[in-house]
Structures are given as C-alpha cells and as structure tokens.
Amino acid sequence: MSVYTEGVIALMGINILLALSVYAILMTDQCSVGNAGFMAIGAYTSAYLTVKMGIPLMPALVVGALVSSFIGLLVGIPALRLKGLYLVLATLGFGEMVRTFFLNFEPTGGASGFRGPMGSTLFLIYAWVVGFIVFFWLLDRSRLGRSFDAVRDDPEVASTMGLDVVWHKIWAFWLGSFIAGIAGGLYAHYMFYIESGNFNFLLSTMILLYVLLGGMQTFWGAVVGAVIFSILPEILRFIHEWRLSFYGAVLVAMMIFRPSGIITRKMVRDLGEKFDKLFQTART
C-alpha cells in the first residue's frame, strides 16, 4: 500500500470518528457545529503529553479525550437552554473560541503550530473506529438507546415517562466531545504537525455534512457519510479541481430529494430483521 493510499484510509478513519461525534450529540436533537473545537482540545492535549512530557500514546489519547469531554460537559450545560439555531450559533462560537485560543497559546506553539506528535497507525485508528461502532451498535439495541430515541422524539413526553432529559442531553455532549477528542489525538499523532487552522469552522460544517448526507437517523449514516466523503475525491480524480463544486451540488440536491440521507432508520431496521431471520436470534 502506498503512503498516499494509507493516508487516505487513515483520514477516513478520523472522519468516521468525527462524524460519530456529531451523531452522538445529534441523538438528542442537539446540533453541534463546534466539534472541530473538541477535536483540537484532544489533539493538542495528547500531543503535548506525548511530545513534551513523554507519556505513551494510548494514555495520552484517553487523557486528551477526557479533557475534551470535560469541556464538552461545560458546554453541554448552558446548551440545555438553547434551542435549534441558538445552539448551532453557540457551538459555532465555541469552536472558533477554541481555534483562536490555540492560535495564541504559546506552550503548544501558538501560530507556528505544534510539531512532533507521532505514533498513530492504521491499526490504532481503526481499532478505535471499530470500538466505537460496536459501542453504538450495542447502544442502539439497549434500553439506553431507546431512552435516547425517546428523548429525541419528544423530550416533554419522555420526561413524563420517567426519563431524565437533562442527563441524556449532557451525556450526549460528553460522549460526542470524547469521541472528537480521540479523533483529534489520533489525527495529531498521524500528521506529525498540527496548527489551529486545521480545526476551523469549515471542518465542523463538513463533519455535519457527512452525517446529514449519510443519514442522521442512525449511526450507520454517519459512518457511511464519512466513508463516501473520504473516498469520493479519489474516485473522482478527473474532476479534481471541481470536486468541491460537485460535492456542493450533490448535497444541495440531496437535501431537496432525499433529506433523510442515504441510510434511513427504516433501512437499518429492515436489514436488521433480515439478519435476524437469517440467524434465528430470539429478539424482541
């Protein structure tokens, strides 16, 4: 495998994680366009730990993600009061705050960026990807997954059915920012060099695009959206310069003709039922 192809696959893995991070928050009907900020926190924290403090990669990754998810909690709390558009704006502001913070923060390089983190392999990246996919798969089938569905469908009714809506919403932010933090750490240690400009609003909006293109009803949609966006540029080499215009046009068309995205809940359920019949599992 060439270095170039490896790079594409590695970044695809990172994109899948980022898409899942947005999906996690979207599970409770909250839309975040600030996940690049959480990614940055994970990236810089883990990079600092490995490069400046000699801490091994795995613990550094986890610590980076824990810091990111702690900040996620702090963001999730005021987010409770914000609906729809206001939440989008708040997460936008948050993402930009983080980016401009790291632009000025000298201990991690400031405007010159941070050089040195390394150690991410394809295996490591995809271990995390598979891990989170399994996590979401289990979540989907569990009681907690049903609680999340209820909270997203109708938070008021969910609360009268005994579900603590606040807990679910904050937990979703924690989860999403944790995953984004892991993605950031893996990214930093793959690219060897990071700068604040890598974690901008454009990236946050692109991640949202992956999820909506793939289908925001299930986590598989996020995965599929990220995969498509990562692979498509390679397949469409011949329109390379106009690639972005193509994406833009396709997405605009998608929103018009198939707003639910490629993968719908119904599709997943029907496929799931076919699998069940195949393996004759006793399932409700």
Binding site: R143, L144, D149, R152, D153, S159, M161, L163, Q217
Partner: protein, 248 residues
C-alpha cells in the same frame, strides 16, 4: 392521594387556572370536564411537572410536587396520556411500551452490555400490557402506522407500563366510535379494579357520567362545581357554562 390546593397558573397576563382545589382519593375514577380552554390540560401539565405552578400547591401522597422535575414525578407514580396522541414515532409499538419501563430497571451505561433476568420479566409485563390492550400482534409495527384507536390504546399501555398509582387520561375517547368507546370504558374500569386512581378529561358526557364517581367542572380556569354525576347534571352553573358559551 392527590391534593390540588388553591392552585393558580398565570401565563403573563393570561389566567389559565385560578384558585382550584381538588382532592382525589384512591381507587376511584374522577372526571374533569369543562368547555374548551377551561384549563383542563393545563392542570394536567401542572400535576406532571411540565409547567410550574404560579400559586398554590399540589401534593401526592404527602409529597409536594411543585419543585420536582417531570421524570421525578412520574417515578412517584403518576403518568398520563395526551389529548393529541404523542407516541414516539421512531419506535415500534413494543418499544414505546418498553421505554416507559426503563424507570423500573437499570438503564444507564451498564444496560448496553448486560441483559438481566429482571429484564425478561419486564418483557413479559410489556407483553401482558399489550395483550390487555389488544396490540400484541402489532408489536413490531411502527407506532405511527397504527390506526387512530389503536394509537390511543398504545398510549394508555405506555402510561400503564410506568406502573402508576395515578393515571391521567386526556380525552382518551376522542375520535372513537361507539364500540371503541365501549371497549375503552371496559378497560378503564379494569385499570381501576387493579387499584389505580384515574383522573379523566373528556368531552363525551356519556363516558364521564357512566364511569366517573366524582366530577370536577372547570370554566375559564375556575372551579365552578364538584360532585357526583347526578349532582353535576342538575347543577345550574354547569349547564350555563356549557350552553351559554360558544364552542371555540
């Protein structure tokens, strides 16, 4: 069991409820009637904690409900259905009932990995509830694909899955024909026979008069009468409230 004491609810300048006092004992079916906009659903919203009380107090088995969150109140044993059916659209019939059982079990992160014996018992209970409501055969269908009457029954099944002591039903017979209504009445009576208290909002007078043992009447947010069906039927203020006012 439930004491609504001098409760008022204001929305800015708008008075939704004014100085309402109602006492509910256990094991009975209570009715709450009044013209449209009288404040009946608002009262439900106050009891379940969806909206805060402006004045007065609501106590359930001695506990003050006003400061509690809706999910805490439902855990105390109060559940409800909605005037315009609010099922969870992304879930199947069975899942709608199962999710309401989450409060009886461990539902946090751990639930992802373990399936305990108690969960199988919950599944049995859900099955029983759905069979009671005649919905077990449709358990795998999406909740919104059900017929209107079936959706209403599903909402009741879901509310019952919480194992409430007090069940609030908001116009459960709306849009039902004679036989469906008859069916519904039987089921409500069965629920009461299981030892639950029911507070029923209804416009269909025949339903109210038949199964309620005590009725409260609201008009413009105020309590204008309370009593047995016979007393209410002959109450002048009630008759005037219903006849003297345009339906709106």
């Amino acid at each position: 069991m439930l004491t609504i004491q001098n409760v008022s609810k204001h929305f800015g300048g708008l008075k939704a409820l004014e100085n309402v006092t109602i006492h509910l004992g256990s094991d009975k079916i209570y009715g709450l009637i009044g013209p449209n906009g009288a404040g009946k659903t608002s009262l439900f919203n106050l009891i379940t904690g969806v909206l805060p009380v402006s004045k007065g107090s609501i106590q359930f088995e001695g506990k003050e409900l006003n400061k509690l969150q809706p999910h805490e109140i439902s855990r105390l044993g109060i559940s409800r259905t909605y005037q315009n059916i609010r099922l969870f659209p992304s879930m199947t019939v069975l899942e709608n009932v199962l999710v309401a059982q989450n409060i009886h079990t461990q539902w946090g992160l751990g639930s992802i990995f373990k399936v305990r014996r108690s969960d199988l018992k919950l599944l049995d209970q859900a099955e029983e509830l759905l069979k009671q409501m005649g919905l077990w055969t449709k358990r795998k269908e999406m909740s919104t694909s059900l017929a209107y009457g079936e959706q209403r029954r599903l909402e009741i099944a879901r509310a019952l899955a919480l194992k409430p002591k007090l069940l609030l039903l908001d116009e459960p017979a709306a849009g039902m024909n004679e036989s469906e209504t008859e069916n519904l009445l039987q089921r409500i009576e069965e629920i009461r026979a299981q030892g639950k208290t029911i507070l029923l909002i209804e416009h269909d007078m025949s339903v109210i008069m038949r199964i309620c043992s005590y009725i409260s009447v609201l008009n413009f947010g105020e309590l204008i009468a309370q009593g047995t069906p016979e007393e209410i039927q002959t109450n002048e203020a009630v008759i005037e409230a219903y006849l003297g006012r345009e339906e709106g």
